[in-house]
Symmetry: C2
Subunit: 156 residues, 2 copies
């Protein structure tokens, strides 16, 4: 892949920042985050199935979904959408139910690069440095990288 996922996790701070470019228009990138029928086709690591309880990608909406691992394990996530602005910006909360009450707040910027290309930037802020470090140790980067590769194929 030429469009690499770049994650930075500054030492001693509770957040990660990430960026990735896509060979896809910003509208397609945004829509793949809004439409639950598309979301479940790209979000999460390779080989997992995803089921969505509810997913209402509007300001004040909320979501819950489950990743089903090949070994039968289930990993549920839930949150609220504080702000959603079409083709531009979103803020959501994010909780892995296996680590209850460790809730991150995530900022997503959708940027039009022209010529049918776009950039996704994100900042995810955990409740503590320890919580952020545990999120990284969980294999977050591999799941994000694989998910965004499937997202790019979906938007192409």
């Amino acid at each position: 892949m030429t469009n690499a996922l770049v994650i930075t996790a500054p030492e001693g701070m509770p957040w990660i920042e990430f960026t990735r470019e896509f060979d896809a228009p910003v509208g397609a990138l945004f829509n793949a985050h809004r439409d639950p029928d598309l979301v479940r086709r790209w979000l999460g690591p390779n080989g997992y199935e995803m089921t969505i309880d509810h997913y209402d990608f509007v300001s004040g909406g909320c979501y819950r979904y489950v990743h089903h691992a090949p070994d039968g394990g289930e990993y549920a996530f839930r949150g609220t959408f504080h702000t959603v602005r079409e083709d531009e910006f979103a803020i959501q909360t994010f909780e892995f139910e296996g680590a209850p009450d460790q809730v991150a707040i995530e900022y997503l910027w959708f940027e039009d690069l022209g010529s049918g290309r776009s950039r996704l930037r994100g900042k995810s802020i955990g409740p503590s440095v320890e919580s952020r470090d545990a999120m990284i140790a969980s294999g977050m980067e591999k799941g994000m990288r694989e998910g965004y590769e499937r997202l790019e194929a979906l938007c192409a």
Copy 2:
């Protein structure tokens, strides 16, 4: 007041933590956060009127309200409730609309101290150290202290 508000804002981190005890049972303290007719009687600095557009203090709910200053100024706030557990715990997002997209995530712990007393602990995490520092510089501490004094009187 013997029940002082204590706020800590560690240098170089994006959060504040605060704690305050109340001469009130934990159920009354929680209910004063849940019932919008009570919320508008204590939340905010002295001398302000508060109007509530909506306020649904349940997991997945959301809120928006406006503080009306004595000089006619209006200050609107909105957010979502990620988690609400009765007499125990809440997580919410918090945005002052005058500083759009600077959204904090706030944790609140409601603790029963017995003998009709309780403790409120909170942690508010901003999107950056600069945003946290701007929140403090805005007079946040005075507004919180005055609001909690009215809350204690309301619960008594």
